[in-house]
């Protein structure tokens, strides 16, 4: 019991003085507080948004607001269904057009392309992310939409028997052109994540397929795509989240008409666009309705992102060969790099 005889308060020569330990403590607790601040910020944000949206929800009811088909500012009716449908149609179109192209680009870059072309191709696709959304809107409305209108009208006339696609007059701003531009905008992020996942396919899997006599395409189909499926789906969901939240390009391209359009080539509105467009002059209940639209948008993107995370994490977990942390890290960096716009 010699140790007990040491007077309390005396420290070993190896220990630092309490004063010297102060910066360490300060840094640790300071940084922890900073991290906690992020959490607090988001929670506070959500509460304030709900508070501002409450009058609109009280007036229309939550279901009445989200699924009511009547957005009439002058009559003070706020049913967000036309906006919700506009958001969903354009985002779905963006996925339908953008994901196959993005995945094909990723396959080409990782499996088929000559080594010398790989880096330039990757840089070029990533450059699409560097174009700001307002520039996409400008280019879409002044160049792409007028150029494509005759083709759209031709399709609408030929397919007039198909509900939703055919018939009707094609306007320059419409759902289709919005979806098309959104597809271009989500291409870099979906492509970057797919590329990242495809580069984790073990070489033995591919070599085994080739060794059994598979052609290149058969190798891609049996070895690469099944291995990457959930990763690609996760990337597509992240792209979907981006398409749902995209504001300025959509505001310029969708036509800003609060109506539930009956065909693909007519004007509509979206949740994000209505906020950007009407917020400036909104008062009272109208302003509250726009906050409510923001809340619906927020919850929608939250759901999509949570789903995407779940899929990407599951994809990483199901493959013990690919270290989960590294995959998440590299994927995150690339995704963020692609998040330029």
């Amino acid at each position: 019991m010699e140790a007990a005889s040491i007077p309390t308060g005396e420290r070993s020569i190896l220990e630092r003085s309490p004063l010297a330990r102060l910066p360490d403590r300060a840094l640790k607790y300071g940084l922890t507080a900073l991290a906690a601040l992020i959490l607090a910020l988001i929670v506070y944000f959500f509460i304030r948004l709900v508070g501002q949206a409450r009058p609109a929800f009280a007036k229309e009811g939550v279901v009445g607001f989200v699924f009511g088909n009547d957005w009439n500012v002058s009559a003070e009716h706020f049913g967000a269904l036309p906006l919700l449908v506009g958001t969903l149609i354009t985002s779905a179109l963006a996925l339908l057009i953008g994901v196959p192209v993005a995945v094909a680009t990723a396959i080409y870059a990782t499996e088929l392309c000559p080594g010398r072309l790989r880096a330039p191709l990757t840089v070029l696709v990533d450059l699409l992310a560097a174009v700001p959304s307002v520039v996409y809107g400008l280019w879409g409305i002044f160049f792409l939409a007028p150029k494509l209108q005759p083709a759209e009208q031709w399709i609408a006339d030929r397919l007039s028997f198909v509900p939703f696609i055919g018939g009707g007059l094609v306007t320059i701003p419409n759902y289709f052109i919005t979806g098309l531009v959104l597809a271009i905008m989500i291409l870099p992020i979906v492509s970057a994540i797919s590329r990242e996942v495809m580069s984790t396919v073990p070489a033995d899997h591919k070599e085994a397929a080739l060794g059994l006599g598979a052609t290149r395409w058969e190798m891609i189909r049996v070895a690469v795509l099944p291995y990457c499926r959930s990763g690609i789906v996760g990337g597509a969901m992240l792209g979907l989240g981006r398409a749902i939240g995209e504001t300025i390009a959509v505001t310029i391209l969708i036509g800003d008409a609060p109506q539930l359009s009956h065909h693909l080539f007519s004007q509509g509105y979206s949740l994000a666009a209505v906020i950007a467009n009407e917020f400036g002059e909104a008062q009272g209940i109208h302003r509250s309705a726009l906050f409510a639209a923001g809340l619906v948008l927020f919850v929608l993107t939250l759901l999509v992102n949570a789903l995407a995370r779940l899929l990407v994490v599951r994809a990483a977990r199901s493959k013990p060969q690919a270290p989960a942390v590294e995959q998440r890290g590299a994927g995150g960096l690339l995704a963020d790099a692609a998040a330029g716009a």
Binding site: P23, A35, I38, I184, G245, G280, V304, G329, G332, A339
Partner: protein, 303 residues
């Protein structure tokens, strides 16, 4: 030779046929590879078209006065005297500079905490999850948030610094995630050697970990800045729109994306042309930032 002929003939040719791919499979392979190549080409077409149109329309409106005068707001008389985009360029630089001054220290601080202190604790996982949530929040919703808290909340009006705060919220997750990735790559042996030599934790972080990770973090920061510089939606009802150049972040402030957005809807051709010129300016600025980020990333290979 084709497999049909081979199977009809002698044993030696049949031997060859066993290893050759049937025409149907070969056709399928060619078709699939051709479609993948075609899709890749399709993916690059928009980029070419956008760059081409920006150059054609934008270069035409670039002139000395385009960069040295403020927009006048005068769009009558065929737009003979509409002014340039000086206030928008300076406004974007000011707003983004302040946004970076907020987001970079906070973001790197949180990343350091995640890597050095939080590691795999439940709290660190919660923070990571919330950072991911932040990544997914649409930019216009950040604008709404800042509007509620700083415009309605303070009973005042729009100001440049409020736009900066909205943009910094947007940059934060990008900075945190990219800094975390780079910090994780700093070899544990470096930290351990410093600790073994008796350095306190904070000196290890400031003198060993951060300098080692610096180039990679700069890359992430530049990409975040490039992202913020192109954003319109969060600025619409936080920094708003004005014509004059001003260096007071407490006042209304112009910015390139908002200027473009306002000009797009104008019926006057000259104003739309000014939007093209401003768009070319903005894209050039952002591409330069991306290029620098890429060069720095290539220089530093931590792993």
């Amino acid at each position: 030779m084709s497999a049909h002929g081979a199977s009809a003939d002698g044993a030696q040719v049949g031997q060859l046929a066993r290893f050759s791919v049937s025409p149907a499979r070969r056709r399928k392979d060619r078709l699939a590879r051709a479609s993948i190549l075609a899709a890749t080409t399709v993916a690059l077409i928009p980029l070419v078209l956008i760059v081409y149109y920006l150059m054609r329309k934008g270069l035409g409106s670039w002139s000395e006065s385009f960069f040295t005068t403020d927009p006048t707001g005068n769009t009558f008389f065929g737009g003979s005297n509409i002014g340039g985009v000086k206030s928008a360029i300076l406004g974007t630089i000011e707003i983004v500079a302040l946004a970076s001054a907020i987001a970079v220290p906070v973001g790197i601080g949180v990343a350091v905490w995640l890597v050095e202190y939080g590691r795999n604790s439940w709290f660190a996982h919660t923070v990571r999850f919330f950072v991911d949530v932040l990544t997914g929040v649409p930019s216009i919703v950040f604008g709404l948030f800042v509007y509620i808290v700083l415009v309605v909340g303070t009973g005042s009006t729009y100001a440049g610094y409020k736009g900066s705060i909205a943009l910094s919220l947007l940059m934060l997750p990008v900075v945190i995630r990219s800094a975390e990735v780079v910090l994780l790559l700093v070899p544990a042996a470096l930290r351990e050697s410093a600790l073994a030599l008796g350095a306190p934790r904070w000196r290890v972080i400031f003198n060993i970990v951060l300098p080692t990770a610096l180039p990679g973090m700069i890359t992430g920061v530049l990409l975040a800045i490039a992202r913020a510089a192109g954003e319109t939606a969060p600025l619409l009802f936080t920094a708003a729109y004005t014509h004059e150049t001003n260096f007071n972040l407490g006042a209304f402030m112009n910015s390139l994306p908002v200027q473009i957005y306002n000009d797009v809807t104008s019926p006057t051709t000259a104003v739309v042309n000014r939007a093209w010129g401003a768009a070319l300016t903005l894209v050039t600025l952002i591409l330069l930032l991306n290029l620098i980020a890429r060069l720095i990333a290539r220089r530093s290979r931590l792993a």
